[in-house]
């Protein structure tokens, strides 16, 4: 690797050739303000907040796009630089609503933080402000174009990382807006509801649609039996959303906090993740043995499902017919659990805490009513749960550790790793191996499918038969795998696809900001949860075994199909 040397504010710094001036500045331990820059996206150099002086350059240089050069002398903090940055910021603020106090992102807004940090105490420029209606057509995501500063981070995330391109620039100059195609609502275009746009938006222009008020209402209704399920990834991120270190495992505190919010039972989506493994594992074996459509592709990630419906409808027969763990939970809760409790499905209110915005859409799919009513009533993101804890005055850090309720709160480590890319695959292999070979799996860790590499491949020996698998996360990576399947090149039997980079721990409902290091820390925590569990194989979950004995019969039974399996709908690409 070739290195170049430059000076930043008098410090000598060495960086790899090809790095930007901003990389060099950060290597020197100096923080310059940025807004359109995001560490996981292609830099665009649009906002001019990261400008610096470079000796010999005629104008200020946008450090996020300027290549670092040998011998460069960079100054990041001169009167000229400070004035230019503040002016650029004031011009953005001149066209921004002054409603910080009631904004969703109040307290976690990059524009607000910069206005504070750069010492903007008045805006010298007055003029008309953009006026545009909110788009609340989607059950998952709300757009408020008046708060948009046109940084384009959502456009790059949606178009380049996810390759969905539901959002684009429209118009020119003052009239420019970021909009879905033909200025339609997000619900009317090929948006997959992944919510990655909400995690990179620096302001409140794109946020999740909140269902907190609905959940408070249900909790306050004495006639409702209100139960909650928590997704695998939430236990390693809710503490982060409340200001604790990234990667803090807070399973017990979260359970305690949910009880204090007033939920009648605190259950775990990990339970139905285990159930998913039993159903999907047997579906795989059935397809392998009976010449079914292969590779089988996982169906846990609702953003991925909608992507497949819009962009690869011809591959829908590859999808597992298994509902996601969230929906299996709703169906089991309002039938099996309702029967046990002597309750009618309509008296139970099921709340999901998800790292995900697409789950809000999934819960509202018309086919997700196996119990006769909506199986899941309200879906909250990790961020919304954190807000409920704050509103209720719960001091999260000092909560005791408490246990989930039985039976739908009993789970294994295999259920927990659903939260990380490769986790569903690994959990399935643990079970499929033992079912097929009848032997005990000695080493449970399938490390080839772990980690943040975009596409991972592995092969597993099952009684002399080799099963080839692939794992992809983030939809651009998923596309690579899908194109190979279409071309008949990928000879895999089983493929895991997760919509969001890193899997669910990097979901669109997770704490903001996010970057590769934070994703890695959350993943590490997920595998620590797995390693600490007394049971780590889904088929050993005693509550799942009982569920089959008492209610479902056997995997892929008629009852299973009625409650736990679903079908898919081809949707238009545009």
């Amino acid at each position: 690797m070739e290195y170049i040397t430059l000076t930043v504010d008098g410090q000598t710094v060495q960086v790899e050739k090809g790095k930007t001036v901003l990389d060099a500045i950060q290597a020197a331990g100096i923080k310059v303000p940025t807004l359109c820059y995001h560490p996981e996206l292609r830099p665009e150099g649009a906002c001019r907040l990261c400008v610096v002086e470079v000796k010999g350059a005629k104008t200020l240089v946008a450090s996020c796009v300027a290549p670092a050069a040998d011998g460069m002398e960079v100054k990041t903090n001169t009167p000229f630089v400070r004035e230019a940055r503040r002016t650029a910021l004031e011009l953005l603020l001149a066209n921004h609503p002054n409603d910080c106090l009631t904004c969703e992102r109040n307290g976690n807004c990059e524009l607000q933080t910069l206005a504070h940090d750069l010492g903007v105490r008045e805006v010298r420029y007055q003029g008309p402000k953009r006026s545009a209606a909110k788009d609340a057509s989607s059950p998952a995501i709300v757009r408020d174009p008046e708060k948009c500063i046109l940084c384009g981070r959502c456009v790059r995330m949606c178009g380049e990382v996810q390759e969905v391109a539901a959002l684009g620039y429209v118009g020119r100059g003052w009239d420019t807006m970021v909009l879905p195609l033909f200025d339609r609502g997000l619900a009317e275009v090929a948006c997959v509801n992944c919510g990655q746009c909400t995690t990179v938006c620096p302001t409140g222009a794109i946020t999740e649609k909140s269902y907190v008020d609905e959940v408070w209402d249900a909790l306050g209704d004495p006639n409702k039996h209100v139960i909650v399920q928590t997704a695998p990834a939430v236990r390693v991120s809710v503490a982060e959303a409340l200001g604790m270190p990234v990667g803090t495992i807070a399973t017990g505190k979260m359970v305690a906090g949910l009880r204090r919010l007033g939920f009648d039972r605190v259950f775990d989506t990990d339970f139905t993740a285990d159930l998913t493994i039993i159903e999907e594992g047997h579906e795989l074996l059935e397809r392998l043995n009976s010449g079914g459509t292969l590779p089988l592709i996982t169906s846990c990630s609702p953003g991925w499902i909608k992507f497949c419906e819009h962009f690869y409808p011809d591959l829908l027969p590859h999808l597992s017919t298994c509902k996601s763990p969230q929906q299996m939970f709703g169906a089991v809760a309002k039938t099996y659990y309702a029967e046990k409790m002597g309750l009618k499905p309509e008296d139970i209110y099921v709340v999901s805490i998800m790292p995900c915005t697409a789950k809000k859409f999934e819960a509202q799919r018309p086919e997700m009513t196996a119990s006769g009513v909506a199986d899941v009533d309200a879906v909250l993101t990790t961020r919304e749960l954190a807000r409920m804890f704050k509103e209720a005055g719960i001091d999260f850090a000092t909560l005791p550790d408490e246990e989930y309720d039985a039976p739908l709160g009993i789970s294994t480590g295999a259920g927990a790793i659903f939260g990380a890319t490769g986790g569903v695959m690994e959990a399935a292999l643990r079970t499929v191996y033992e079912v097929v070979t009848g032997e005990t799996l000695e080493n449970l860790d399938f490390t080839e499918v772990r980690g943040l590499e975009g596409v991972k491949e592995a092969s597993v020996d099952l009684n002399g038969k080799t099963v080839k698998v692939a794992v992809a996360h983030g939809l651009a990576n998923a596309k690579k795998v899908l194109e190979r399947i279409k071309a008949g090149e990928g000879d895999w039997q089983f493929v895991e696809i997760m919509c969001c980079p890193g899997g669910c721990i990097g979901g669109g409902g997770q704490p903001i900001p996010v970057d590769r290091e934070k994703r890695a820390a959350r993943i590490k925590a997920i595998y620590e949860v797995d390693a600490s569990m007394p049971m780590r194989k889904s088929h050993e979950n005693p509550a799942v075994v009982t569920l089959y004995q008492e209610f479902l019969g056997k995997p892929l039974s008629e009852k299973s199909h009625e409650l736990l399996h679903t079908h898919y709908t081809p949707r238009p690409r545009f």
């Binding site: 391109a165 959002l167 684009g168 620039y169 118009g171 879905p180 195609l181 033909f182 545009f574």
Partner: protein, 160 residues
């Protein structure tokens, strides 16, 4: 896109398909394609944006972004005759505002709009560059100079 449900065989927009076929596989084809589509159909319609995106392998939001960025592209049907009333400095001091007002009154539309019968579109224009004829307007490629508001109705009546 093979055909529509109307019972006729063949593509729904044969001219569009012909244009796209000529640019197949070419990089940087988007703007020329948009120009030719507009020349053929008078404006760029939504189905065309979707079909262009499909054929060129780029997102429809990108095609829409380019089509809305440039003033030369129109996303609504335009009139058979385009009226441009000069708003330059010389025309301004010689009463361009009154000429534009007379055109607006005669046609019942504002600049940027099209009459319901698709006969006329008024297009905003900064300067036509023939100040000696001020105040001036163009209808299609015809120049009408030294105007007074009372001449407007008669001029427009000549364009069916």
């Amino acid at each position: 896109m093979s055909g529509c449900a109307c019972g006729n065989s063949g593509p729904q927009y044969p001219e569009l398909e012909e244009i796209l076929a000529r640019y197949a596989g070419q990089r940087g084809a988007l703007i020329p394609v948009l120009q030719e589509v507009q020349a053929a159909y008078g404006y760029i319609f939504e189905d065309a944006i979707v079909r262009i995106a499909e054929a060129l392998g780029i997102p429809a939001t990108s095609v829409y972004g380019v089509a809305t960025f440039y003033a030369q592209f129109h996303l609504k049907p335009r009139g058979r005759h385009v009226v441009r009333v000069c708003q330059g400095t010389a025309c301004h001091v010689r009463g361009a505002a009154k000429i534009l007002a007379a055109v607006e009154k005669e046609l019942g539309i504002k600049p940027g709009e099209t009459t319901e019968d698709l006969r006329f579109t008024i297009e905003p224009v900064a300067c036509l560059g023939c100040c000696g004829l001020a105040p001036v307007m163009m209808v299609n490629d015809d120049t009408h100079g030294r105007l007074t508001p009372d001449k407007v109705a008669e001029i427009l009546a000549a364009y069916e």
